[in-house]
């Protein structure tokens, strides 16, 4: 093996190691509320959630899962949750996420569908790309709870 090969091999191992290390990033919540402001505060978040609800109702992949729910309560709870996650002065008072989704058997297809609709709802409300990404980053820790993994 040439020396340059050894070097490249090491570089690849380091890339793989950094992939692994990425999983260990602490989920430190920034104390500032800049994301909350970029989302348009609670009123802006409420608009996104409203558009999200319209998209869900029309989406054959997931609308069954939302049948029979209290729309007003869902809207209030999700708005509070996103508001709190983005650093706003709200408190999510709904049920615990893992318990809430336990019996739903959410698939990756359904999770992707919801993520897609959230992105489309944010685009419809002119949320900047960076703010969209920052909000999704803060939602990622909920993935195992929602998918019940």
């Amino acid at each position: 093996m040439r020396p340059s090969k050894t070097k490249m091999y090491m570089a690849a191992l380091m890339i793989m190691a950094s992939l692994l290390a990425g999983g260990c990033q602490s989920l430190h919540n920034e104390s500032d509320n800049s994301l909350y402001l970029q989302l348009g505060e609670r009123a802006g978040i409420a608009d996104v959630v409203e558009d999200l609800l319209y998209l869900i109702v029309d989406d054959e992949r997931i609308n069954e899962q939302f049948k029979g729910m209290d729309v007003a309560q869902f809207h209030r709870n999700l708005t509070d949750q996103l508001c709190e996650l983005s650093g706003g002065p709200c408190k999510y008072t709904g049920r615990e996420m893992r318990e809430l989704h336990a019996a739903m058997g959410i698939t990756d297809t359904q999770f992707n569908a919801l993520a897609e609709n959230l992105i489309l709802a944010m685009e419809d409300n002119n949320i900047p790309t960076a703010a969209q990404n920052r909000l999704i980053k803060r939602l990622l820790p909920l993935y195992p709870d929602i998918r019940h993994l």
Partner: protein
């Protein structure tokens, strides 16, 4: 496999096929698959999902865990003394297994004279078929903290072995095995999402197999390191670079590592357009092969 008589004609036909696909009814649009835009990668020159030169852990198309998906791709790399054309197709079952086929045609252009004068060979192109399979072992590139990990194989069959054999290649077919990890880090760079990929490949292939497998300098498997990084400017545009380490099995000519800088445009799940600057180094005595790469991919 279909052979097109003229590359331009073929590209034009393909483009109109894609355009037709873009304007189908919204009801049919939902059938493309549920994974988030641009997370199927594009089709590499070897048919597997990835970037241009390097396979990634991502599986092709947009199939999620309850869906089927497929891709068709046409690619072309024009470097100083060679032209590589690739036709590829792939299927994805449940975002678990990807199966691909690709046909590569390397137009030898200026090497024709070297072969005729040096070896008395009359050959103006080399063809290779590649059958690929990739299994997602664990994780999801977007949602899992530790990313997505996949194992793949590419079985390659050289269809014109006369030239590779004359320059010292040992076999006309071979199988590459690779292990790959991919992860998207959200809001990692100025609020933009960052895609990182690392791949380790066991291979005996000379110039990816176009010059056969094994050689007089080395005839066994060696492990090569490959990497790719990309930044999503938004959900339609990805800018990135790739690096692919290569073996050096033939004393006939030195083989060098490959790299590229790419931009991918994904206006819709149905279409991906990739353009790149590629550097393929020295190939079969002709030095410093650089040029442009263009690839069209349709998903269904």
């Amino acid at each position: 496999m279909i052979r097109f008589s003229h590359p331009l004609l073929c590209a034009a036909g393909f483009a109109s096929f894609m355009a037709a696909g873009l304007f189908v009814t919204p009801a049919a649009m939902a059938d493309v698959g549920s994974r988030i835009w641009a997370t199927g990668g594009v089709t590499t020159i070897e048919g597997s999902a990835g970037g241009g030169l390097v396979p990634w852990a991502l599986l092709g198309s947009y199939a999620s865990d309850e869906e089927w998906g497929g891709t068709l791709a046409l690619s072309r790399a024009e470097v100083d003394d060679y032209t590589l054309s690739v036709t590829g197709a792939g299927l994805n079952w449940n975002n678990r297994i990807e199966v691909t086929v690709a046909r590569q045609t390397l137009d030898l252009d200026s090497l024709v004279f070297t072969l005729k004068d040096g070896f008395g060979l009359e050959q103006d192109e080399l063809n290779q078929d590649i059958f690929g399979v990739k299994v997602r072992l664990a994780g999801d590139a977007l949602y899992s903290p530790w990313g997505q990990w996949s194992l793949g194989a590419q079985h390659k069959r050289q269809r014109d072995f006369t030239v590779p054999e004359a320059i010292g290649a040992q076999d006309d077919s071979g199988t590459d095995f690779y292990f790959s990890g991919s992860k998207v880090f959200f809001a990692a760079l100025f609020g933009r999402n960052l895609l990182v990929n690392g791949t380790l490949r066991g291979t005996r292939a000379n110039q990816g197999g176009l010059l056969g497998f094994g050689g007089d300098l080395n005839n066994g498997y060696e492990i090569m390191a490959e990497a790719g990084v990309g930044v999503f400017m938004n959900r339609q545009w990805l800018l990135g670079a790739e690096y692919r380490q290569k073996p050096d099995n033939l004393s006939f000519a030195r083989e060098e590592d490959w790299w590229d800088v790419f931009v991918a445009w994904v206006p819709d799940r149905r279409l991906a357009v990739t353009a790149a600057f590629v550097n393929l180094g020295d190939i079969a005595t002709l030095t410093d092969q650089q040029g442009v790469y263009l690839s069209l991919q349709g998903s269904f």
